[in-house]
C-alpha cells in the first residue's frame, strides 16, 4: 500500500509550512526576550551627566596623571643621628600591643629594639594612629609570597621614592659610590636587629657572600646584580657596620639594583639562623634530618630554610610571616624590631597586621568591589565596576601613574626561525627585518580606531618613546609613523616587490608562495584580544594575511620566538631593550646575553651589532647618574628608533590600565596622591606602606567591631608575635618558640586507615558468607587499579610540563639563578628523571612496600603527593575540601530525596491534577537545564534583583577559622542549601518522574485494589507497601548517582567558588600540576566507587531477592 502522490507532497509541504510558522514564532519570542533583557540600558534622551563637559574634563584629567620629576615627593626624612636621645625622632613611641609585651618583660623597650639610627619616614598624612588590620586577599599562598617578596619585603639597602627617583637609604644608612662608580661603600645602621632580636651587622652580609653565594668548594653562585659586564665583583668587610662592594668595571647601576626587588633577594637571611643549615659549617644531624623529611639533598637545605615563607626565618620587613596555615586566611603581623620610625619617634608600621583572606580567582572582582579589601592594586577588575561602587564599597580609587606608558607594543620578530616546513619563512623574516616593511605596517594601522574602541577615546595615536615627564619626552617623536595612511603603506609594500597576489587577495612572495604571518598573544596575562584582531584587520586591507593565535600564557612564552608578531606590555619608558631593539631576544637578554653570557648565545639567536649597541646604551641610560649623558643616550636611541621602528606602539597619554590604580578604603590614611607605579618598584612599596594608618583603628575595615572581637584580636596577635607556627612537615630548629601544632593530619589519617578499615570489612563480610558482597568488595580493588592507571596515563599525556612554564616565567622576571636552582629542586623532589613506571609505583604507594622510606610514601599510605606549584603536600591543600565534597554529595542526595519523594508521591496519587502537570513540567525543565547554567542564571538573578551574592560556603569570619565548632557548622548549613539545590536540580527532577512512574505502576497492581476493597485507610495503605516498593529503584540508583553528583558538583563548585575538590582539580589541571591533579582525580573516583559499593550494600540489605539469590545485576 502506498500513499497517493499528492498526499506525500501534502505531507512535506505541511512540514515545511509548520517549520516556517515555528521559526516566525521563535523570532518573535527572541524579540520579546531581547526587549525584556534590554532593561533600562537604552534611553531616548541623553542623560544629564553625559552632557556635563566640566565633569568630563575633570575625570579625564584624573585619568591622565602627570609626573613632574622636579617636584618629587619623599617619605625619607634626613636626620642628624648625632642628636641622639634628645632628638624628636628618637624611638620612644610604639604600638600599645608591643607595650604590653614590654611590660610583661617579653620584649626589650622600643629604643633598644629599634636602635639609635633608625630610618625616619614621614607619612603623607602626618603622624598616624596605631592599630587596625589591612584586609587583603590571596587566591593561594603563592600570592602572599609575592606580596612578601615585592611589596612588603623591605630588606633592601636602599629604596625607591614615590616617583622612583631619588633612591634613598633604607636598611643602609648611606651608600656612597667612588668617583668611578667601581666601589660602593655601604654604611649600615647601628642597632638594627632581626625580627628575633639578634643584631644585624656586616657579618650577615659577609656570611651570605662567602657561604651562600659561594659553594663550599668556592664555586661562585652569585646573582646577576653582583656582576658587571659579565665579570663578578666582590664584597669586603670594613668593620661591623660597613661593607664595600667592589666591581671590576664602573657600575652606576648598583644603586638601582639594590633598590629593586632583585636587590632584596640578595640577602638570604641572617647568618645566626642560617649557619646551622650550612653543609660544612652547620649542624650535620639537623641537616640530615631535614633533608630526609623534605626529600631533598643536604646541600639544598640551606636554601630551603632561607625561603621567604619559612615562618622561622628572621626577617627585617615591617610585617612578618610567622603563622603557617594550610589554607587561608594568612596573616602577617608587625615586626617588633622594625628599624623605622616616624619624625616623632613612633616605631613603624602603624598597622598591626595584614590579613589575607583566601578567595578563589573568580571571586576576586566581586570581593574587591564590595569593599572587603583595605587597599589593593585591582588587576583586571572592570574599571566601570570599580568606579561605580566607590560609594557603596566605601573606597577611593587613586589614579596613579602607570610605569609603562604605552600599554601594548607590537613586536615583529626579526629573528623568525627559518624552517623548511614553512617555505615562505625565510622571505617573511627578511621582510620583518626590513625597516621599510615595518614602516609600512606602522602607517597601515588605524590607531585612532583602536583607541576609540578599546580605550574609550582616551589617548593619542603614537609609537614607542618616553612619555610625558620622562627623560627625552618629545611629542613629535611619538607621532613618528603613527599616522594612518593605508594608501602610502600599500605603495610601500608594492615597492618592496610584493606585487603578486594569491587567489584570496593576499600578497605572496615574489615567486608566488603563500605568506601567512602568525601573531601570537597570551590569552590571559596581556589579555587583549581586541588589539591584535584590529591590527590583523588593518593589515588585511594592505593585503597581508595575519592570523591571530591566542595561547595560554605559558605556551605563548615558548612560542613567541617562532611567531611573526607578538605583543608585550612594558613597565619602563625605554622598554623592551631600547625601544624594541632588544625585543625579540627575550631569553637572550634575560640570560645575561648583554654581558656576554655563554648560555645566552645558545638561545633565540644573536642580535646584530647595532642592536647590541643600542641595548647597551639603553642599560646605561637607565642607570647613569649623569643627566646630560642620560639625555644624550636616550635621544640616540630615539633616533635609531625612528629610523628602524623595531617595535610599534599604539597609543600614549594616560591609559586606563588597572595596574596603575590603587583602591583604598575610606578610613585608610597616609596614601600619596600620585606615585610611579611599576612592578620593578614593588609598587605600592614606594608609597611608604608602613606609614599608612587607620583613622579609626578599632574597626574591621572601617566597620565597627565588637569589644569581644577586639579582645580576641589582641590575644591572637600577641600570640602570633611570640609564637611561630610551622608547617606540620617542618621540624623546628634551635631556639624557636613554636606554637602547639594543630592537628592537620586528620585527613591523611582518615585516608590511610580507611583503607585498612575497608579491608577489615572485606574479611568481616566474607565471614558472613555472602558471595555477592564478597564479589563487590573484591571488584573494588581492580577497579581502583584500573582507574589509577587511566588517570596516571591521562595526566602524563599533555605535552610540556609545569617545569618549562616555571623556567620561562622566572626568566621573564630576570631571576635566572632562581630559575635554575628551583628547577633542580623540582626535578629532584618529583623524581622527574625516574621512569614513568617507577613514578607510578611511587605515586600509588606500592614502592613504599619495598623501600619503607618516608619519601616513597604514596596513596596507599594516605599521602597524596605534593603540588609542584607551592610544594605543599596535597593533603594539606585539601584540608577540609574532601570533607566538604563529601558533605555536598551526601547533602545533595538527602535534599533530593526530601524534595523528590513527597512530590513524586503527590504526583502519582493526584495524577492529572494541575499540581501534577505543574510538577511534570517543572520536572522536565529541571532535568534539562544543566546545573552549571542554572548556577550562572541564579547568580545573575540573585545579584540583579536581590543584590545578594550566592557564592562560597562560609561567611568571611568562619572562613578564617580553621577549626570546627558549632557556630561554623551552623554557618555552613546556612550557605549550603543553595549549592545543594543547584547541584541536585536534575537529579531531583528525574527522581520525581521515576517516583511517580514507579508508584503509579505499583498502585495499579491487584494487591492494592484488594487492600482498598478490604477497607484499609488510603494513606496507611499507600505507605505500607506500594511506597516501599516504589522506593527500591532509588536505592539501587544511588550508586549511579554519586559519580554524576561529584562530577556535576565539580563544575558548580567552580562557578560558585565553593571550597571543594573540584576547583582545586581544575586549577591543578590548568597548571599541569600533574601529581596533584592525578591524586585529586583519583580521590574523586574513589569517592564514587565507595558510593557505588555502599549503595549495593544498602540494596542488598533492603531487597531480599538479591540476598537470597546472591545474584548480581
Amino acid at each position: 500500500m502506498s500513499k497517493a502522490p499528492n498526499a506525500v507532497q501534502h505531507g512535506s509541504v505541511r512540514h515545511v509550512a509548520r517549520l516556517i510558522i515555528l521559526s516566525l514564532a521563535f523570532y518573535m519570542l527572541l524579540v520579546v526576550l531581547g526587549g525584556w533583557l534590554q532593561g533600562n540600558n537604552v534611553t531616548t534622551e541623553i542623560p544629564a551627566t553625559l552632557q556635563d563637559e566640566a565633569l568630563r574634563a575633570e575625570y579625564d584629567a584624573m585619568r591622565r596623571p602627570v609626573i613632574d620629576p622636579d617636584d618629587a615627593p619623599l617619605f625619607y626624612t634626613e636626620v642628624d643621628y648625632s642628636e641622639g636621645e634628645n632628638a624628636s625622632w628618637w624611638p620612644k613611641g610604639e604600638s600599645p600591643l608591643l607595650s604590653k609585651l614590654v611590660e610583661d618583660g617579653a620584649l626589650p623597650p622600643v629604643h633598644e629594639r629599634v636602635g639609635p639610627e633608625p630610618v625616619v619616614y614621614t607619612g603623607f598624612e602626618g603622624i598616624g594612629n596605631y592599630g587596625g588590620d589591612w584586609w587583603h586577599i590571596a587566591s593561594d599562598i603563592d600570592a602572599v609570597r609575592l606580596f612578601m617578596t615585592y611589596t612588603a619585603n623591605n630588606n633592601t639597602l636602599v629604596r625607591y621614592s614615590p616617583y622612583g627617583q631619588p633612591i634613598k637609604p633604607h636598611l643602609a644608612k648611606a651608600v656612597i659610590p667612588s668617583d668611578n662608580y667601581k666601589t660602593w661603600t655601604v654604611h649600615l645602621r647601628k642597632g638594627v636587629r632581626w625580627s628575633d632580636g639578634h643584631p644585624f651587622t656586616a657579618d650577615d652580609i659577609m656570611f651570605w657572600w662567602e657561604h651562600v653565594a659561594h659553594a663550599p668548594d668556592g664555586t661562585p653562585n652569585i646573582p646577576e646584580t653582583m656582576r658587571i659586564a659579565g665579570e663578578p665583583g666582590y664584597i669586603e668587610k670594613v668593620d661591623d657596620y660597613t661593607v664595600r662592594y667592589v666591581f671590576p668595571e664602573s657600575n652606576p647601576g648598583f644603586i638601582h639594583d639594590q633598590a629593586s626587588a632583585a636587590g632584596a633577594l640578595f640577602m638570604a637571611g641572617p647568618a645566626h639562623y642560617l649557619r646551622q643549615f650550612h653543609v660544612t659549617l652547620g649542624d650535620q644531624e639537623l641537616i640530615a634530618a631535614i633533608a630526609k623529611e623534605s626529600q631533598i639533598a643536604p646541600d639544598r637545605v640551606l636554601r630551603e630554610r632561607s625561603h621567604i615563607m619559612n615562618p622561622e626565618r628572621p626577617s627585617l620587613s615591617p610585617w612578618l610571616f610567622r603563622t603557617h596555615r594550610n589554607n587561608g586566611p594568612w596573616t602577617l603581623i608587625r615586626n617588633p624590631y622594625y628599624f623605622a620610625v616616624d619624625p616623632e619617634g613612633n616605631q613603624l608600621p602603624y598597622i598591626d597586621r595584614i590579613v589575607f583572606q583566601q578567595i578563589s580567582p573568580q571571586l576576586i572582582s566581586k570581593t574587591i568591589i564590595e569593599g572587603s579589601v583595605s587597599a589593593i592594586i585591582p588587576q583586571s577588575v572592570d574599571y566601570g565596576s570599580l568606579m561605580n561602587n566607590r560609594e557603596e564599597g566605601q573606597y577611593r580609587l587613586f589614579h596613579w601613574y602607570p610605569g609603562g606608558d604605552s600599554t601594548i607594543g607590537v613586536i615583529p620578530n626579526r629573528h623568525l626561525p627559518v624552517t623548511d616546513k614553512d617555505p615562505a619563512s625565510g622571505f617573511r623574516r627578511d621582510l620583518l627585518r626590513d625597516p621599510t616593511f615595518r614602516h609600512a605596517i606602522s602607517i597601515g594601522i588605524n590607531r585612532q580606531k583602536i583607541i576609540d574602541a578599546r580605550f574609550m577615546g582616551i589617548g593619542a595615536p603614537s609609537n614607542l618613546g618616553p612619555a610625558k615627564g620622562q627623560v627625552g619626552y618629545d611629542p613629535e617623536h611619538l607621532k613618528h609613523a603613527a599616522e594612518y595612511d593605508p594608501e602610502r603603506a600599500s605603495a610601500m609594500l608594492d615597492e618592496l616587490g610584493l606585487t603578486r597576489y594569491d587567489k584570496e587577495g593576499y600578497r605572496t612572495t615574489p615567486d608566488g608562495q603563500r605568506m601567512t604571518f602568525r601573531y601570537v598573544i597570551s590569552g590571559s596575562a596581556y589579555g587583549d584580544l581586541g588589539i591584535p584582531l584590529f591590527i590583523s584587520e588593518d593589515l588585511k586591507q594592505l593585503g597581508l594575511r595575519v592570523i591571530v593565535q591566542v595561547r595560554p600564557h605559558r605556551l605563548m612564552l615558548m612560542e613567541r620566538a617562532r611567531a611573526d608578531f607578538t605583543s608585550l606590555e612594558s613597565s619602563s619608558a625605554l622598554g623592551w631593550g631600547a625601544l624594541g631593539a632588544g625585543a625579540p631576544y627575550f631569553s637572550w637578554f634575560n640570560r645575561g646575553g648583554l654581558h656576554g653570557s655563554e648560555e645566552a648565545l645558545a638561545e633565540s639567536g644573536q642580535p646584530t651589532e647595532q642592536e647590541i649597541e643600542l641595548m647597551t646604551k639603553g642599560e646605561w641610560a637607565r642607570v647613569t647618574p649623569d643627566p646630560e649623558e642620560q639625555k644624550n643616550l636616550v635621544q640616540e636611541i630615539m633616533k635609531a628608533y625612528r629610523e628602524n621602528l623595531w617595535a610599534l606602539g599604539i597609543t600614549s597619554g594616560g591609559v586606563v590600565s588597572s595596574s596603575a590604580l590603587l583602591l583604598a578604603k575610606n578610613g585608610l590614611r597616609g596614601i600619596p596622591e600620585l606615585i610611579f607605579t611599576s612592578f620593578n618598584h614593588g609598587s605600592p612599596n614606594n608609597a611608604a606602606i608602613e606609614t599608612w594608618y587607620w583613622e579609626k583603628p578599632d574597626t574591621i575595615n572601617g566597620e565597627p567591631a565588637t569589644e569581644e572581637y577586639l579582645a580576641n584580636r589582641e590575644t591572637s596577635i600577641l600570640q602570633e608575635i611570640q609564637e611561630i607556627t610551622l608547617p606540620s612537615s617542618q621540624t623546628a630548629s634551635e631556639g624557636t618558640t613554636v606554637a602547639a601544632a594543630r592537628s592537620t593530619q586528620f585527613m591523611g589519617w582518615v585516608i590511610q586507615y580507611a583503607l585498612w578499615t575497608v579491608v577489615a570489612l572485606f574479611i568481616l563480610m566474607s565471614a558472613l558468607r555472602h558471595p555477592f558482597v564478597l564479589r563487590r568488595l573484591a571488584l573494588m580493588i581492580p577497579t581502583m587499579i584500573v582507574i589509577s592507571i587511566i588517570v596516571y596515563t591521562g595526566i602524563q599525556l599533555p605535552p610540556g610540563s609545569y617545569l618549562d612554564t616555571r623556567v620561562q616565567v622566572l626568566e621573564e622576571q630576570g631571576l635566572r639563578n632562581e630559575a635554575e636552582m628551583e628547577i633542580e629542586d623540582l626535578k629532584e623532589r618529583f623524581h622527574m628523571d625516574d621512569s614513568a613506571f617507577k613514578n607510578y609505583f611511587r605515586w600509588t604507594g606500592l614502592l613504599w612496600f619495598t623501600t619503607y622510606q618516608d619519601s616513597d610514601k604514596g596513596l596507599l599510605q594516605g599521602h597524596m603527593g605534593r603540588s609542584m606549584v607551592n610544594l605543599a603536600p596535597v593533603n594539606e591543600l585539601m584540608g577540609d575540601r574532601l570533607l566538604l565534597t563529601f558533605v555536598l554529595a551526601i547533602g545533595t542526595i538527602l535534599i533530593t530525596w526530601m524534595i523528590a519523594i513527597p512530590i513524586g508521591v503527590y504526583s502519582a496519587v493526584r495524577q492529572y491534577s494541575p499540581g501534577d502537570y505543574f510538577f511534570t513540567i517543572a520536572g522536565f525543565l529541571g532535568m534539562c537545564i544543566p546545573n552549571f547554567i542554572f548556577a550562572l542564571v541564579l547568580m545573575l538573578l540573585a545579584r540583579k534583583y536581590f543584590d545578594i551574592t550566592i557564592t562560597g560556603l562560609f561567611s568571611p569570619q568562619f572562613a578564617m577559622q580553621d577549626y570546627w565548632n558549632l557556630a561554623k557548622v551552623w554557618d555552613l548549613l546556612k550557605h549550603l542549601w543553595i549549592p545543594l539545590i543547584v547541584i541536585g536540580l536534575d537529579g531531583t527532577a528525574g527522581m520525581i518522574r521515576v517516583m511517580r512512574a514507579n508508584l503509579l505502576d505499583e498502585l495499579r497492581k491487584p494487591y492494592v485494589t484488594t487492600a482498598r476493597a478490604k477497607g484499609v485507610p488510603p494513606v496507611r495503605l499507600l505507605f505500607k507497601y506500594p511506597f516501599r516498593m516504589a522506593l527500591l529503584p532509588f536505592i539501587s540508583g544511588i550508586g549511579g548517582i554519586l559519580p554524576s553528583l561529584i562530577s556535576g558538583g565539580a563544575i558548580v563548585s567552580i562557578i560558585l567558588s565553593l571550597p571543594t575538590v573540584g576547583p582545586l582539580l581544575l586549577d591543578a589541571v590548568m597548571l599541569e600540576d600533574i601529581y596533584m591533579a592525578g591524586s585529586l582525580l583519583l580521590v574523586l573516583s574513589a569517592l564514587s566507587v565507595i558510593g557505588v559499593l555502599v549503595s549495593d550494600l544498602l540494596l542488598m540489605m533492603l531487597d531480599p531477592r538479591i540476598r537470597m539469590t546472591g545474584g548480581g545485576r
Binding site: I46, N388, I933, L1065
Partner: protein, 379 residues
C-alpha cells in the same frame, strides 16, 4: 470514503499492515510535545546548517562603536515596514561605562532576503543573501544626514560589538554538530563493544561489563577536565574540535553498549535467531540482519538521549577554557563572557546562549521520550 487516505486516521486494516517504522511514526505523531520538539530541533539545525543565511552578521565582525549594545526592539509601521531605531553610544565620564540612546530620528529599515555579496554558505556556496537584515539602501534614503551607524542587534552585542544573535547561530553550528559527531563515534563503539558482549557472552562479556562499570565510576566532568587538558593548545581549531568529540564519545558509549548488550542477550535466544544460526547464517549476518532491527528503536532512543549530554559536555569544557577557544564560536565559548557578574548584570543579554542550550536539551529530551513511548510495544 476518500480516495486518498488521510494520514491521521487509519483503519484497522491499515494498522495491521503497517511496517514497524510506520507504526512508530504514527505513535510518535500522537505525542504532540515530541513532534513540536522535533520541529524545534529541525529549526535549530537548519539555523546551524544555514548559519550564514540566518545570521545578519559574521560571527567575529566587530562593531567597535557599539560595544555592549543592548538588544534593539523591532517596530513596524506601514510607512517603513519593519525597522529599528539607531543607537548612539555615550560613554559615562565617571566610570567609562557605555550607555545607549535610542535615536528616534534615525530609522534603520529591515527586510527579508537582504543582498550581501559576502554570504557564502559554509564558505563555498554563494547565495549572497541574508534571511533578514538591514536594508542599507533604504537606510540611506530615509536618513541622508544622519551620523548614526546602522546596526541591528536582535539580542544585543558583546564587548567588541559582535552581534550576539549571529554568534549564537554560528555557535549552534559547532555545538550542535559536535553532539552529532560524537554520537557517531559512540554509536560505533557502543554497537561493536555491546555487540561482542551481548552476543558472545561468557568471558568477553564479563570483562567488558567490568570495564563499563569502572568507566562509569569515574566522575565524568573531572575526567573530562583532565582529558581536555590533554588537547594541546597549539593544535589547529579543527583538530581540537575532533579531539573534543573523541574525548566526549569515549565516555558516552557505555550507555549504548549496555542497551545493545541487554537487547542482544534477550533476543539472541529468540526462535528466529536460533533458526537463522541453524540455517548456517554467519554471526555477523545474524546480528545485523536479524537481531539489530529488533532494537533499532531502542538505539535511537538511547542516542537521542545522549546527544544532549554531549552538547553539555562540550559547553562545559569550552566554558572552563579547556575546549574550544576564541575565535572559534560555540555556545560554551560564548558563556565564558558570563563569568564576570558585574558586566553580566549590566548587560544581561550576554546570557542568551543559555536559552538556546536549554531549548536544545529540552527538545532532545522530549523527542527521546516520545521515541521511547512510541517504540515500546507494551504501552
Amino acid at each position: 470514503m476518500s480516495a486518498t487516505p488521510s494520514p491521521n486516521k487509519s483503519s484497522a486494516v491499515e494498522l495491521g499492515t503497517m511496517s514497524q517504522s510506520q507504526l512508530v511514526k504514527l505513535r510518535f505523531s500522537r505525542h504532540r510535545l515530541a513532534v513540536f520538539s522535533l520541529y524545534m530541533l529541525g529549526l535549530l539545525y537548519a539555523m546551524a546548517l544555514l548559519a550564514e543565511f540566518w545570521a545578519p552578521y559574521q560571527p567575529n565582525a566587530m562593531n567597535l562603536q557599539h560595544n555592549y549594545a543592548p538588544p534593539q526592539r523591532i517596530h513596524f509601521n506601514l510607512e517603513n515596514g519593519f525597522y529599528v531605531y539607531g543607537l548612539i553610544r555615550h560613554i559615562n565620564p565617571i566610570d567609562l561605562t557605555t550607555s545607549y540612546q535610542r535615536d528616534t530620528n534615525t530609522i534603520v529599515p529591515l527586510r527579508f532576503f537582504v543582498k550581501d555579496e559576502n554570504v557564502k554558505l559554509w564558505g563555498i556556496l554563494p547565495i549572497h543573501r541574508h534571511l533578514f537584515g538591514m536594508d542599507l539602501e533604504k537606510f540611506e534614503e530615509r536618513n541622508p544626514d544622519t551620523e548614526t551607524l546602522p546596526t541591528f542587534f536582535l539580542l544585543g552585542a558583546d564587548q567588541y560589538g559582535r552581534d550576539m544573535f549571529s554568534r549564537i547561530v554560528f555557535g549552534a553550528r559547532i555545538s550542535l554538530s559536535i553532539g552529532l559527531v560524537s554520537i557517531v563515534i559512540s554509536f560505533v563503539l557502543g554497537i561493536i563493544i555491546g555487540g561482542i558482549s551481548g552476543f558472545y557472552g561468557g568471558v568477553p562479556d564479563l570483562i567488558i561489563q567490568r570495564l563499563i562499570e569502572i568507566l562509569n565510576a569515574i566522575p565524568g566532568l573531572p575526567l573530562w577536565i583532565a582529558l581536555g587538558a590533554i588537547l594541546p593548545a597549539d593544535w589547529p581549531d579543527l583538530k581540537i574540535y575532533f579531539g573534543i568529540t573523541v574525548v566526549l564519545s569515549l565516555l558516552g558509549w557505555t550507555g549504548l553498549a549496555r542497551t545493545v548488550r541487554s537487547k542482544l542477550l534477550s533476543l539472541r535466544e529468540e526462535d528466529y535467531a536460533v533458526a537463522a544460526r541453524l540455517l548456517g547464517a554467519s554471526h555477523g549476518r545474524v546480528i545485523f540482519r536479524h537481531l539489530v532491527p529488533g532494537f533499532t528503536s531502542h538505539i535511537l532512543v538511547s542516542l537521542s538521549l545522549t546527544v544532549p549530554s554531549m552538547i553539555l559536555g562540550e559547553t562545559a569544557l569550552s566554558f572552563l577554557g579547556l575546549g574550544l577557544r576564541p575565535p572559534v564560536v560555540s555556545w560554551g565559548v560564548l558563556l565564558q563572557d558570563c563569568m564576570n557578574l558585574d558586566i553580566l548584570a549590566r548587560s544581561p543579554w550576554l546570557i542568551m546562549p543559555t536559552f538556546f542550550i536549554i531549548l536544545t536539551v529540552l527538545a532532545f529530551n522530549f523527542v527521546g521520550d516520545g521515541l521511547r513511548d512510541a517504540a515500546d510495544p507494551y504501552r
